[in-house]
């Protein structure tokens, strides 16, 4: 084989793949990739829709303190409107809301008189009812806001519009309060897109400083928004990762310098892994676009296991007298193929997951492992020195000899060797029942408590609703969803009266189903002597005869058709509609926001029997989803183990050999879980995903340990390779245990413990196999 040609081809291929990745790779950070895609996930779908909705892109800014808060809010809003990343801003007091209410609702007041028109409207028009309304109107006319009523009263003696305004105002977050002014900002980018959100946050701070200088240095800005957490979290993880990366790079560098006395070895071991990553990323950029950042991150970590293959090749070549790199690789081919193939199988099983992000991750990692394996077999030898001695050092030889002695001692004392897996099994048996599963996604992050408190304060002040607990009315069309919501509203009002919750913010305050609106008009029209009844009651109350004829006319000839979602969408109330009426797959959902949820069970009972009405508890749902994710991944790990075992059985044709090879990959994940259980460390889904990495590496350890039992000359380089592989993994992944972030810490701990255990059990595999035995 022309090695120069292989080198050139490898470099050209690598350059081409990297260029393709740079041009085609599209990365997303949407959490929806990690929500289930199965049919059972109706509410998860809603959660996905909510995450993607404008709600999550809306920030609330609250201006407090001494100064002209209202003017400051208006100036801040005006400044932010100019920012290219800001899609929409609302700030300060606005007359447009009041005007919108009038234009939308006054002509349609006859459709929106009563929620139970067949009974409510006749009751409203009884003489006593009308007299009470006449008294109310007269008393309003005597008050300081009488001008607001004289304008509409001739065409609305029943006060229908005033009641509508009252309801609508409850649905609208207030822009100006006694002690604060609010600005609502919607960004164009996803809240999780930190690179685009960070400049927006900086622009808000800068604009506020300018505004405060003009309208009052005593003013203070408080903010709320998902983007703030995303940016803060990214910055914090970046700081953490930088520190850990330095520790990791220094550790790996020192390791390679200690064992191989050359940086060349380090570069060599990176060739197959780099090619594997490049191939997987290029395939992903075409097949899974857009690729999720986590898929990419975890996928890259999983492909990282392939660094073991060149380490084995380099160590074996260093110990091989007179062999060329290609003959060394040829000797190891079976082990490499077995190890790489089974690892790819373990990762590939993840592609069966219901979670789009996870199945992409499995496929991505499997492709990367196979590509890196190919690069180890074909490209790596072309870059290696012909003489193995060039890759060896005294320390390397001494360490290998010591390890080989230890392995041989163990081979002579099979009882001790057998005790090790037994001990592991015992730890698993004792610890597994003690495992504490942590399925709360909130436990994966540690948001700044100051940010959390500020966010809660601002949102509570602006909306006064619990954004994590909702009631959803699902139906095949907007009209059907609104009709269901009409009924949901009634039930929830009862639940409020029963004390199950403090209140609701419902689209029902702004929009009823067309069917209910038409029933209102029919009920009003069915009153034959409507004009006379009103005239009689109101003249008795001191009003002029015939003063309210315009109302009867509006009932006979309404000034507008019933109110429809489109009418609201084109108005300043559109923002409220968008937050409450959302398409969900083929269905439509009407969302009701809740205040002070006191009894979840009470709310569920209130909704009983209403098909399509759901109480949505986001925290509980996410816990359920993450628990499902964990269980499904654990099942896939088990399936992977079974498939690996079947593959080993087919390849080795002997049960004992297959079982021995399987030992590190099947037993070690269980022992790791057991240890975590005994230590009281909660196990989350990231720990479970990390177990796949442990399993992938464990099977490699088993394969190489067993293979070297056939050839005693391979014992020293194999044991050294396993040690270097183990230490490399600990430096690369295990150092994540130093992180302040629970998510990274969990990966680091699981991987560090798992890989160390896998290394410890490998000599036992070798010892139990016996020289030439299998």
């Amino acid at each position: 084989m022309n090695e120069a040609l292989v080198r050139a081809a490898t470099l050209v291929l690598l350059a081409g793949l990297l260029a393709m990745c740079a041009l085609r790779l599209e990365v997303t950070s949407s959490i929806t990739h990690f929500l289930p895609s199965g049919d059972e996930s109706e509410l998860a779908g809603l959660s996905r829709r909510l995450v993607e909705s404008d709600l999550s892109r809306t920030m609330v800014l609250r201006i407090r303190g001494d100064g002209d808060r209202r003017a400051a809010a208006e100036a801040l809003a005006a400044s932010l409107r100019k920012h290219p990343e800001v899609a929409w801003v609302q700030g300060g007091a606005s007359e447009s809301f009041a005007e919108a209410l009038f234009h939308l609702y006054f002509p349609r007041r006859v459709y929106l008189a009563s929620e139970d028109p067949e009974r409510g409207i006749p009751r409203m028009l009884e003489p006593e009812g009308l007299q009470r309304r006449a008294e109310t109107l007269r008393s309003r006319l005597a008050g300081p806001t009488s001008l607001l009523f004289t304008r509409h009263a001739p065409a609305d003696p029943l006060g229908l519009f005033a009641a509508l305004v009252e309801r609508a105002r409850e649905a609208e977050p207030m822009a100006v309060q006694e002690d604060a002014a609010f600005v609502f900002v919607r960004t164009r980018a996803s809240p999780f897109d930190s690179s685009r959100q960070a400049p927006v946050l900086e622009a808000i701070e800068a604009a506020f400083h300018q505004v405060a200088a003009e309208h009052g240095p005593g003013l203070a800005l408080e903010q709320s928004g998902v983007n703030r957490f995303a940016v803060a979290s990214e910055r914090s993880i970046r700081r953490d990762a930088n520190f850990i990366s330095i520790v990791s790079v220094l550790g790996v560098g020192a390791l390679f310098l200690a064992f191989f006395r050359s940086v060349r070895s380090l570069v060599l071991v990176l060739i197959p892994t780099t090619l594997g990553i490049a191939v997987a990323t290029a395939v992903a950029s075409e097949a899974f676009a857009p690729v999720h950042g986590l898929t990419l991150g975890f996928g890259l970590a999983l492909i990282g296991v392939t660094i073991d293959y060149p380490i084995h090749v380099i160590n074996h070549h260093a110990f091989a007298e007179g062999a060329t790199p290609r003959t060394t690789v040829a000797r190891l081919r079976r082990s490499l193929l077995m190890g790489g193939g089974t690892t790819a199988l373990a990762f590939g099983v993840l592609a069966l997951s219901d979670f789009p992000g996870v199945d992409d991750m499995g496929a991505f990692a499997a492709i990367g492992v196979l590509a890196a394996l190919g690069a180890t077999l074909i490209s790596l030898p072309a870059f290696m020195p012909r003489e193995g001695r060039a890759l060896s050092s005294g320390f390397q030889r001494a360490a290998a000899a010591a390890l080989a002695r230890g392995a041989r001692w163990l081979a002579r004392h099979r009882g001790v060797a057998a005790a090790l897996p037994v001990l592991f099994a015992a730890i698993a048996a004792v610890g597994l029942p003690q495992v504490r599963w942590e399925d709360d996604p909130a436990a994966l992050s540690t948001p700044d408590p100051i940010l959390v408190e500020e966010d809660r304060r601002v949102r509570a002040g602006a909306f006064g609703v619990d954004m994590d607990r909702l009631v959803v009315a699902l139906a095949p069309s907007p009209e059907a969803a609104l009709a269901l919501n009409d009924r949901v509203h009634g039930r929830l009002e009862e639940a409020v009266a029963a004390g199950h919750l403090g209140g609701i913010q419902s689209l029902h305050a702004l929009l009823w189903s067309e069917e209910l609106q038409r029933r209102n008009l029919e009920a009003l029209r069915s009153v034959q002597d409507l004009d006379a009844r009103i005239d009689t009651a109101y003249t008795q109350g001191g009003f002029r005869a015939g003063a309210f004829e315009a109302f009867g006319e509006a009932v006979r000839h309404p000034q507008a058709p019933p109110l429809r979602p489109d009418d609201l969408a084109d108005s300043p109330l559109g923002r409220l509609l968008e937050a409450a009426l959302v398409p969900l797959g083929d269905d439509w959902a009407v969302i009701t926001y809740l205040r002070e949820v006191r009894s979840k069970e009470g709310i569920r009972e209130a909704l009983a029997g209403l098909d399509g009405a759901h109480f949505f508890d986001r925290d509980a749902l996410l816990r359920e989803i993450f628990a499902g994710y964990r269980l499904s991944t654990l099942r896939l790990v088990a399936l992977g183990a079974v498939l690996i075992f079947a593959t080993l059985l087919v390849c080795y044709r002997r049960l004992r050999a297959a079982l021995l090879v399987l030992l590190p990959s099947a037993l070690v994940p269980l022992t790791t879980l057991g240890l975590l259980g005994m230590l009281g460390i909660p196990v989350n889904l990231l720990a479970v995903v990390s177990l796949i990495l442990v399993m992938g590496m464990g099977v490699d350890y088993g394969v190489f340990a067993l293979e070297c039992s056939r050839d005693p000359r391979r014992m020293a380089p194999t044991m050294l390779s396993l040690l270097v592989c183990c230490l490399t993994t600990i430096f690369v992944f295990g150092t994540l245990a130093l992180s302040e972030h629970p998510a990274l810490r969990s990966i680091g701990l699981t991987t560090g413990i798992g890989i160390s255990l896998a290394f410890l059990v490998s000599p036992a595999v070798l010892a139990l196999a016996g020289e030439g035995d299998v």
């Binding site: 007091a93 007359e95 809301f97 009041a98 005007e99 007269r138 008393s139 006319l141 005597a142 008050g143 300081p144 806001t145 009488s146 001008l147 607001l148 004289t150 304008r151 009263a153 001739p154 105002r169 609208e172 207030m174 822009a175 100006v176 309060q177 006694e178 002040g461 006064g464 003249t539 001191g542 009003f543 002029r544 003063a547």
Partner: protein
């Protein structure tokens, strides 16, 4: 409000002498001088009589009673005729209480409602800057008597209120006339005006219905 409470308030007010006597009124004062006098006049108590001429009603709505002002933004009207009622403006909130019960309204969503309700309070506390920001002000005086003609600057408020004419003598309001866009009009006349009052905590609670908590936001 029970009669005993009203009597108690009257007694307390009678017993609490004005802290500061009305300042000396310059002859033919300017708008700035009048507003400064008003800003220095602290709490106000006056008897009022109001007539609302509304097209909707067969006869004008008449009422009379007491008016109280506690700067900067508490204004109360105790209606004695035709029935007993209390009507209080507390910043951005209106509270009404009569024999049938009580009602609270928030004004912070509507510039129009706030403009309507606050206009008298803005004059009473002598806030010239705010007055000018909301109205075009024409002022004339004759001896210590003066008249302010106010035209709303806001288009929305102007659609409801064509003009307001506020008459006074020195630091005392005497008459407010509001002309509405639709032709309705209201006249309020004040007598027995006392200024320079400082209300005690008990008086404030009684007059401004502080026992009723503000509306939840």
């Amino acid at each position: 409000m029970p009669l005993a409470h009203a009597l108690l308030i009257a007694l307390l007010l009678w017993a609490a002498p004005p802290r500061a006597r009305a300042a000396e009124v310059p002859a033919a004062p300017t708008l700035e001088q009048v507003m400064r006098l008003l800003s220095e006049s602290e709490g106000v108590r006056a008897r009022y009589r109001e007539q609302k001429h509304l097209r909707l009603l067969a006869r004008p709505l008449e009422s009379e009673g007491m008016l109280f002002f506690d700067p900067p933004d508490h204004l109360a009207r105790q209606v004695e005729k035709p029935g007993r009622a209390q009507l209080v403006v507390r910043g951005d909130e209106v509270v009404m209480r009569d024999a049938t019960g009580q009602e609270q309204l928030r004004l912070d969503r509507s510039e129009v409602a706030r403009g309507l309700v606050e206009s008298v309070a803005v004059v009473l506390r002598g806030d010239l800057a705010l007055l000018r920001s909301r109205y075009e002000v024409a002022f004339r005086s004759d001896g210590s008597a003066w008249v302010m003609d106010l035209t709303p600057r806001s288009r929305a408020l102007r659609s409801l209120v064509r003009s307001m004419a506020i008459q006074g003598v020195g630091c005392e309001l005497r008459r407010v006339e509001v002309r509405e866009g639709g032709g309705d009009w209201t006249v309020t006349e004040f007598t027995e005006v006392e200024t320079g009052l400082r209300f005690t905590a008990e008086q404030r609670e009684e007059i401004f219905l502080l026992d009723i908590p503000p509306l939840a936001r």
